[in-house]
Each structure stands twice: as structure tokens, then as C-alpha cells.
Amino acid sequence: MKLAVLVNEGPYQHQAADSALQFTKAALEKGHEIFRVFFYHDGVHNGTRLGVPPQDDRNVTQQWSELAEKHNLDLVVCVAAAQRRGILDASEAKRHGKDADNIAPGFRISGLGQLIEAGIQAERLVVFGD
């Protein structure tokens, strides 16, 4: 079945970010298609490549990046939510005159329309948040 996932909280602060990851892995293992994972609200913080979690703990962003590469996942970070919170890709950084960007591999920044499209195209949408 074609599924979509919405992630509304950042990594570490709330388990919601882990739950979304575990659910996505389990769905892929069962052979389902993940149409898109959309990161909204503080969920955009999942998409930073600058995180350095302790070595004895999980690296949520890296797990998403690896999963995206392995399964060709579409990981979309909401542009409006990301701008507010300081998550930028190179072109966004340039557009806003910022001297650095921080988006992680496998994530792309796009508009809220991508969330609506996921709701239309996927057969089920599962929301993880606080």
C-alpha cells in the first residue's frame, strides 16, 4: 500500500521523531511504498546535518539519510517551517543572504503543497508529533 508520514517534532526532544523512523522502517520491510515523509513544525530539525549526538546514542538524522538512500525515499522539509527555525539548503541560504546552510543528505526543502499532495496520493497518512 502507498503510505505517507508526517513528522511534527524534532529528534531527541520528542520520541515522535523516533516513532516515525521506526514506523517507516517497518512499513518498508513489509513491502509497502512510502510515497513521502514530510517534516513540519519542529520536525524540520530532523533535517540538519550538523547534529553530533553522543556516540552511545542513535543518530536520527543519519538513519533517515541512510534509509532515503537505500529506499529512494522522498524526505521533504517544509520551507516555511524550516526558514523560521534555521534549516536551510544552499540555495535558500543564498537567497536569504545567510553564510551557511545545514540541510542533511537525502532531505530536500519544498512547500506545504507537498504535504497536501502526499495526502492525496497516499492511501494512508500517519502523523507523528507532540
Binding site: 508526517l6 511534527n8 513540519y40 513544525h41 516555511a80 517551517a81 512547500g111 506545504l112 503543497g113 504535504l115 497536501i116 499532495e117 495526502g119 492525496i120 497518512l125 502523523v127 508529533g129
Partner: protein, 129 residues
């Protein structure tokens, strides 16, 4: 009646935005509204439900001048211009909070808990904020 997604112009789904949180304490109310405004461009069947603390989002007379935060409540009045006209508010949630429909910034349809529960079960997609 044919299922809407069997029509030629592509699927039309029933999207419900469920708002259960108070404004300003957290950003969910504002960012939920931002999704709704985008959703309006997609020609889907959009409705908004306000229950639990979500009913506070529609309170008249919000004045954020003293906290330096943007007052986004006028946007609810603009929804009609986007053809978003199905706003449902749960009666029991209002009562517990000492509110009536007169306290709200826009005209809404007040539904009982049972009516709202039934309506939720008729949706294709539920976005919870």
C-alpha cells in the same frame, strides 16, 4: 453516486484539519492555518474541526501587542475568500471552557461530540495539529 476519485479530473478527497491546541502557547494553531491556506489551492474537500483547546483559536478580540507575537486570528476570517467554509466547533469543548458561539471570530457550525465523531469517520485524510 460514483466514488469521487473515480472521476476523470483526479482524486478529490475529504481532508479534515483537526485543531485541538490553544493559540500562542505553541505554534500548532498558526502552522495548521498555513497548511489550510495552501490546501485551498488543491480543489479537495476541506473542513476544519476545532475541539478541546482548539476552540480557543477562534476567540474574538485577540490582542498580541503586549507579547510581541503576530496576531494571526484575522486569517480565520479570510478563509471564506479561499472557499474554505466548513468550520466545525464542538459544543462540549465550548461549554467546558465557558465559551459560546458568540465568542468566536467567525461563523461556525457547532456540532455535538457525537456529530463530530461521525463526521471524522467520513474523512479520507485527517491532519492533526
Amino acid at each position: 453516486m460514483a466514488e469521487p476519485w473515480e472521476e476523470d479530473e483526479g482524486p478529490v478527497k475529504k481532508f479534515m484539519y483537526v485543531n485541538r491546541k490553544a493559540p500562542y502557547g505553541t505554534i500548532y494553531a498558526l502552522e495548521s492555518l498555513e497548511v489550510v491556506l495552501i490546501a485551498a489551492a488543491f480543489d479537495q474537500d476541506v473542513s476544519l474541526a476545532f475541539l478541546d483547546d482548539g476552540v480557543f483559536q477562534l476567540k474574538k478580540g485577540q490582542d498580541t501587542g503586549e507579547i510581541g507575537v503576530k496576531n494571526f486570528s484575522p486569517t480565520y476570517r479570510a478563509l471564506e475568500g479561499y472557499d474554505i467554509e466548513k468550520l466545525y466547533v464542538e459544543k462540549e469543548s465550548l461549554e467546558v471552557r465557558g465559551l459560546t458561539a458568540d465568542d468566536l471570530i467567525v461563523p461556525v457550525e457547532v456540532l455535538s461530540q457525537d456529530e463530530l465523531s461521525k463526521l471524522m469517520d467520513e474523512q479520507d485524510v485527517i491532519l492533526s495539529f
